[in-house]
Every structure is written in structure tokens, then in C-alpha cells.
Amino acid sequence: MTRSLVTRIRDRAATTPHGVAMREKRLGVWHEITWATYWDTVVDVGHALLSLGVQPGDRVAVQSENRPEWLFMDIAAVAIRATTVGLYPTNPTAETSYLLSHSGACVHLAEDQEQVDKVLEAGDLPELRTIVHVETRGLRTYDDPRLMSWEALLERGREHRAAHPGAVEALVDAAEPDDVITLVYTSGTTGPPKGAMLTVRNAEFVLETVLERSPFARPAPGPRDMTLSYLPLCHVAERVLTTWYNAGAGTQVNFAESIETVPQNLREVQPTLFFAVPRIWEKLLATARIKLDSATWAKRRWAAFWLRRADGLGEKLAANGGRHTAATRLVYAVGWLLFYRALRDRLGLRRVRHASSGAAPIAPEVLQFFMGIGVPMHELYGMTENAAVATANRPGRVRLGTVGEAHDGIEVRIDEETGEILTRHPAVFAGYWQDPEATARTLSEDGWLHTGDVGEWVDGTHLRITDRMKDIIITAGGKNVAPSEIENALKASPYIKEAVVIGDGRKYLTALIGIELDTVGAWAQQRRIAFTTYRDLSEKEEVRDLVQQVVDDVNSRHNPVEQIKSFRMLPKELDHEDGELTATQKVKRSAIDAMFHDLVESMYRGQEAGAR
């Protein structure tokens, strides 16, 4: 019998039936779901899928915010040897349509009316037989024969279970290591999304590596640990953290109400293991800064004093690989009692014993701030195609600016010619779904995965990532510039949300900059600058000057080729629905170029005119 996510959950339900597997907040109360309930529901849903004619190898799609039903459906599909396909709840209709038809899903879980509408508008989906919806609000008058409520699905499952006892269990025991458990569609900054196939073997290797062979936190993650699930579950990082760790280590998953309520939910849940993308860390940092700045005079002075200490602590810790010295330990202990404990509590990070950032590059300043206030930060590196494990900064051996060392059992090397990072290990994916061409481009015959990232070794142990290979800017002068490093330096300012550096084939670098509405809004209010909309605020002379200061500051830390000579303010907040961002909030450079073409050109024209 193959050990898999499903058997791990079954084992937990047997050994600790009353332990808390997850919590979901409804009407202000966190309802707890035990392991026994989790497993029981999974079996019911599994039977329901069988009764709907789902065969091993078939695809089951889910398009929903994070909630227990996502996990029930995911694990149930895997239990009957089918494949789960996750869709972003923010995917517009066109993308939803593409993903459903490309994956050929036969059952689709659409969370609510919004998601159901997308499917119904998606056009011809011959393979889709059943659309399950969790929330019935607004759907009463819909009469599409494919629609089925979650309750009806469970009822169907129970009937099938009574008629065919053990049918699901038999399939669970028949699972093979090469069964594809999920298709993770990569966000696709270029071209349509590609579905990476991850197998039972991939998942097992991940869990064995980061939980058992070389646990990423000490003591190893276990049933006493709490996590907050808030990033889209169809993204590989959140899936690993929520579904896989939950099954593998028994961590308690707490579902945030939505991405907007994360700060509030963080305070309530006080997770012990916390992963966030750079965007969230930047936002947390900005929130802390604003709230401290707008506190009363005494609190402000007090905070300023301890934040200066934190700067020092952060520097020492960063220089020392994240380990305390006797002196920093003493300073931190006093500071913890008087300030850091309270600050971390308000931010919801008081009990975090392992914090991590990944999925995109992050500015070292942000990491250092959190290290300074006592949050043990670790930058990780991984991608969909290797199930999000490759390298990680290990506790006590942290190097800022790098993504850490390769895990045990993982081979990482850098291609001598192109500088591309290659990885090889059992968690490397089985290929792209129905796209052997792309698979061949990414996966070499001897098992090396081409990550598409350019990197270099630091001290022979730690990996530093320069940038995405295709994002590297080659200026008209022939210099290679990594834009993301400059962009992150800009985004480390609490006032800047988006920064897009431009300059490929141009004489010099320029940037499009989007402000952070909350912080700049508060800043403007303090200075009594009246504004109406995002655009209005962006175009204020004072705001331009504020951004100019940040740009000058960043420029002073870069050599002349890497300096931003000119910038323009983005007139709107970038958005997934408008096609400017991917579902994971990464900027689509091609779309930006097309959409703000005039703005970009004006930066180069203006300079030439000025020179003339």
C-alpha cells in the first residue's frame, strides 16, 4: 500500500479522532472540524464522486475561496485516484473557460453564484457533467441540470456509501506513486496557463523532506501548530502549506474569511507557522509603520526607541545567520517584555516560530525588519514544477538576499552557460498536462528541471536568485540589469505598492510606479492634502515628490546603469480582472507595456526633447 495524503488523513482520524484538523469562521465564531469529521466527509464525497461516474484519472475542478469544502473535495478526488484541478476564484470567465476545457474536468466545485455564473457563461464544456455549489444564495432560480448543491452531493455520497461500502477505501489502497493527484496551472506571465502534473510520489517526497528528513522548524511541525490559510489554494505554496502539511504533520488549519481580513484573522489565530508572499509582508510592514506613526506621542517615542533597537538587532541577526548572540538576546529579552511582545501580538505574529517568504523575490530590508522584532524569517525557493521545494534558509543559517541551501536529497546546480538554475529530485513534476512540447522544454531527459531563473552561489552553499531569465533587461548600451531587485528595493517603501522597471533595448531605465493607497492616503491626510480617487492622489505634486525621494534613495544605492532616470505614476491600481496581474498578483510585463504604452514612451520622448 502506498502512503499518500489520503492514508495520512485516515491514520490521523483513527489515532486522534477528536483532534482539531481545521477551523472555519462563520458569523464570528471559529467552528472546529475534527479529524474524524474530516475523514468521514472525505469518504462521503468520494462515494458521491464515484456515483457521479468519476473514474481514476478523471479531473475534478475546484474554484473557490479557501474553505473546508475545498479540502474535502480535493482529498476525496485523490482518494478515488482522480486528479484535482484548482482554479483561482479571481479567474475571469475566459480563463475559467480555458482551464475547464483544457483540463477536461467532469465535476466542478463552484463556490457560489459568482463562480457558477462563470461556468455557465463559459460556453461549450462537453466533458463537464456536474457543477457542485457550496453556497446556494442567489442560485434558487437556476435550472441548469448540471447544478447540484453540496448537501445534495453529501446525501448522494451517503446513499452510495450504504450501497457500496468500502468502495472508496479500496481505491485508496490501490493508489500508485505515479498517480497524478493534482494539476497546478502556472500563472502564465506569457502565454496561456500550463497545468503541471504533481503525483503522489511528489507530495510524499515533499512531506518526507521538509517534515521528517530535515524538519524546517525545530521542534518539527506537529498537531500543536496553527497555520492560517488565506492565499489561493490552487497555488502550489498554499496547497503544500494547508492541505499537505495538515495531512503530513497534523497542523491545525484556520481558514481566513478573505484576503482583506487577514490582519484581523492573524490576530485571532496567532499562527505558529506563517508563510506569506512578499506582497503580504510588505503590507504588514506598512501597516505596522503607519499605525505606530499615528499613535499618541508617548507611544510614538517609545516605539521609535525600540524600533531603533530592532534595526540593530535585525542587522546583528542577519550578520549572524539568524542566531542570537548573548548581547542581542539580552536586548531582545528586555524589548520583548516592554515592546516587541505587544507589537507582535497586534500584528498576529506573537506565536510565530517559523515565518517564511517565497513565491516572489523580497527586499532584504523587509526580512530584516521582521527579524529585528523577533519574527524568525526565512526566505524559501521553489516553484510549481518542483512542488515548491528546492532551497530554503535553515534556522540559524540564514543569509539575507539568498534563498538558502538545497534541502537534503535535492540536487541544485547552475548551468555554466546561461546561469539558469536547475533542480533534480523526486518532487520534480511529471510534466505539463497535454503539452509534451512544453514539458520537453522544461524537463531535460536526465531529470533536470529548468527553472527559468538565473542565479549564483554565495559562499558555495547559499543560492542567490538574480531574476527570471526572460525578465532580465538588456539596455541599449548592452548592460544586463535584473529589474526585480530594483523593483523590490522600491517596493520596500511603505508608500509604493507596484513598481515596474522598463528599459529593454532603451538607453536608460525608467519605471512605472503605483502607490499604496492606504499609506499614501494616510500620509496625505496628515498633510491636509485633499484627494478624491486613486488617480487623483497619484497625480498630486506632493505625492510625486514623495515617490521621487524614494526613487532617489534607491538610486543612491545602485550604480549609474541601474538607476531610474525617470518615472511615471500608474493611473490605476493593477488588477487581475483587467489582465495586468496574474492570479498570483505578479505583474504581466507585456500587458503593462501595451496598456501604458503612451506613458512609457513619454518618459523617453521627454528626455530626448530635453536633451535637444
Binding site: 477551523r23 471559529w30 474524524a36 448537501e151 499613535a295 497586534r346 506565536r351
Partner: protein, 379 residues
């Protein structure tokens, strides 16, 4: 589908992680609140062993005032029905208790019921009955009009108390108050069945016990369906009515419960002095209760208790003042004297609190708590 386990408290160290509605609504929903309440209770219970009998008597009178004021806060603070007639219900309670416990062969009306809980309950119930009779007024009137009408109640009451000699002993004469005796313990005597405790100590403990029960009941009323209906009526009676709150019913309930509390307070108010006259139940007493509610904080129980203690201690504070303020005299014939000061302080405190801290002492406490709760932020 999802099994829900209920737990009394949030998982350790996560006070805001409510896993059940019951836990969310619990009176003491966090460990720190639980420990704090326990601490206050222990200090309050040990007070008689720590302070002099003089001061203890003042504190004890504060406890009784608190019981009455909690009643007023339920009707005025929670349900928003301004009542200036509280003194009347206190009087009804005092006379009911005195009559029930009084000597059947004495000069005045007496039923000879020695069992304290019985006359205490009787005093509450008769007052509650009066409250229920008066309550329909409140369903017809609101705001200022209700205040004036309830003010009339005080004067009607005074007339009855002055003229009904068989019950009250008449103006300036008065009658003995009900003597608290329970299980052979005479609370008003300096000897007990185990000896040792003084009259003041025993009375203090008795009042404290009654207050704790009264406060707990009030808090539970406030957080129940009834309490929510009260708040809805206070915030906007028309809106409450539209939401399905039966205005007549809940206004009657508010007055009835409030009067019950007043009756209990009246029954105990004169235990220490042992004698009282009809003059006690004048407008000033009503104003005193209003002052407690405003100073303590509208719609809070703990604030009411704080307010009652402050008002009870006011004479004592005034008498201590000449040591610091040389021009204040302790003699009643000279001006300005401490008695003037005490009278003025009522007014000054009410005006000051309404202007600067409308939420009363509780508001101050709340502010202090928020300061530290939000530390190191300000919100």
C-alpha cells in the same frame, strides 16, 4: 455536517479565537478577565479585615446604593427610559420590609416575619408590582415627559408616606427598619453565634453577598434577549418596534426589574441605622441615584458599582479635605464648609462627567484598558 465542540475558553494565549458562541458571550470570556474579577472579589471580601468600622459602614452603604443604582441603570441606562421616581420605589421597598418584619404587637403595622430572605423578596416584589403599575406610562411617553411624570411619582409617594401613620410613623417620627437576621445571626448586633465579628463587618458581608447576586443577575439580563431588546429600545424605539421588539412588554419588564432592585435596596438601606423617616425618600435620593448612574457610566454594571462607591465616599472625602484646603470649615455654621462642598460636588461631578466623560467612571476605565489593549498602536 461539521461537528462543533464547545469550549469554555479560547485556546491558550489566543483570547480572540472564539470557537463557540457561548464562549464569545461568556461573562468572563478571557483568562485575564476571570483572574481580574476573582481578584476584585477577594479584595472586596477581605475588606472588613483591613479597614476601620467607620469606613466599613460607609462602604456598606455604598454597596446598598449600588444595588439600587443597578436597578436604575437597567431602566435608564440599558432601556433608555429616564426615571426620576426611583426614590419612590426605594421607599416602597423599605416600608414593605419594615412592615413584614415588624412586631405584630407594636405601634405600627407589622407581620412578624423574621426570615430575612422572605421580607427581602417581599420588598422587591411589592416595589416591582408598583413599577409594573407605573410602567404603562412609559409606553405612552418618552424622554423629558417621562422624566417629569416619574418626578410626580416622588411627590405622590411622599404624600402617602407622610400621611399613612400606621405604616410609616409619620413625618419626623418614622419607624424602625427591618432587622436582618438569618439562621440565628443577628447582623445588626455586635455579637454573633461564633462571636468576634462586629455589626459593621457582618452587614458589609451581607450587603456584598446581595450585591454580587444582584450584579450577576443584572449582567445576565443585559446580555440576554431581554437586554438586547432594552438596548434596541434605547437606541431608537421606533426602529426596535419595526424589528419586532414588543415595546410595551419590554418597557414594562424594564420598569418592573428596576423597581425590584430599588425595593431590595430600600429594604437594606436603613439596616445599619435601624430607623428611618418618610423624609428620606425625597427627590434628592432620586437625584443621588441618577448621579451614580451618570458618574459610574450609563449601561454598565461594574461602572455603577464604582459610581455608588464614589458617591458613598463623598462625605468622607469632603471631611478629609480641610486638611489640604485650609479655607474649608468643618463647622456647619461657617461658610464655606465641607457640607456645602459635598452638595456642590454632586452637581460638579455630574456636570463634569457629562461634559468630559459621558461614559462615566467606566469610560475612564475603558479608556485605560483600550490604551493598553491597543499598545503599541493607538487603534
Amino acid at each position: 455536517m461539521t461537528a462543533t465542540r464547545t469550549r469554555r475558553l479560547a485556546p491558550l494565549g489566543r483570547p480572540e479565537l472564539y470557537t463557540s458562541y457561548r464562549q464569545d458571550m461568556a461573562l468572563l470570556n478571557t483568562r485575564s478577565k476571570m483572574l481580574g474579577a476573582l481578584g476584585v472579589l477577594v479584595v472586596a471580601a477581605l475588606m472588613p479585615l483591613m479597614v476601620s468600622d467607620n469606613l466599613l459602614l460607609i462602604l456598606a452603604s455604598g454597596l446598598v446604593l449600588a444595588i439600587g443604582a443597578i436597578g436604575l441603570n437597567l431602566v435608564t441606562g440599558y432601556a433608555g427610559q429616564v426615571s426620576l421616581g426611583h426614590a419612590f420605589f426605594v421607599g416602597v421597598g423599605a416600608y414593605t420590609a419594615a412592615a413584614m418584619a415588624g412586631d405584630p404587637d407594636g405601634r405600627y403595622l407589622g407581620l412578624g416575619i423574621d426570615f430575612m430572605p422572605l421580607w427581602l423578596l417581599g420588598a422587591g416584589l411589592v416595589a416591582a408590582l408598583c413599577g409594573a403599575v407605573v410602567a404603562p406610562l412609559a409606553t405612552r411617553l418618552r424622554g423629558l415627559y417621562l422624566a417629569i411624570v416619574t418626578l410626580g411619582l416622588v411627590f405622590i409617594g411622599q404624600y402617602f408616606f407622610f400621611e399613612w401613620d400606621e405604616l410609616t410613623g409619620g413625618s419626623q417620627v418614622g419607624r424602625d427598619a427591618a432587622k436582618p437576621v438569618l439562621l440565628g445571626i443577628e447582623f445588626t448586633a455586635d455579637y454573633g453565634f461564633k462571636g468576634g465579628w462586629t455589626e459593621e463587618q457582618k452587614l458589609y458581608w451581607l450587603f456584598l453577598a446581595v450585591l454580587v447576586i444582584a450584579a450577576l443577575v443584572a449582567r445576565n439580563i443585559a446580555r440576554s434577549r431581554v437586554g438586547r431588546a432594552f438596548s434596541a429600545i434605547r437606541d431608537r424605539d421606533v426602529a426596535a418596534g419595526v424589528m419586532g421588539v414588543n415595546l410595551t412588554r419590554y418597557k414594562i419588564i424594564a420598569f418592573t426589574i428596576s423597581s425590584f432592585y430599588a425595593g431590595i435596596a430600600g429594604a437594606l438601606m436603613f439596616s445599619a441605622s435601624g430607623h428611618f423617616t418618610p423624609e428620606s425618600f425625597n427627590l434628592l435620593l432620586s437625584v443621588q441615584f441618577i448621579a451614580i448612574v451618570l458618574i459610574g457610566g450609563v449601561a454598565t454594571i461594574s461602572g455603577t458599582i464604582m459610581g455608588a462607591m464614589l458617591i458613598a465616599l463623598l462625605p468622607r472625602i469632603a471631611s478629609e479635605l480641610p486638611a489640604f484646603v485650609p479655607f474649608l470649615s468643618t463647622s456647619a455654621s461657617e461658610h464655606p464648609n465641607i457640607f456645602d462642598f459635598e452638595q456642590i460636588m454632586y452637581g460638579v461631578l455630574i456636570v463634569a462627567f457629562l461634559l468630559f466623560e459621558p461614559r462615566g467612571l467606566f469610560g475612564i476605565w475603558h479608556r485605560v484598558r483600550t490604551y493598553w489593549k491597543s499598545y503599541p498602536f493607538s487603534y
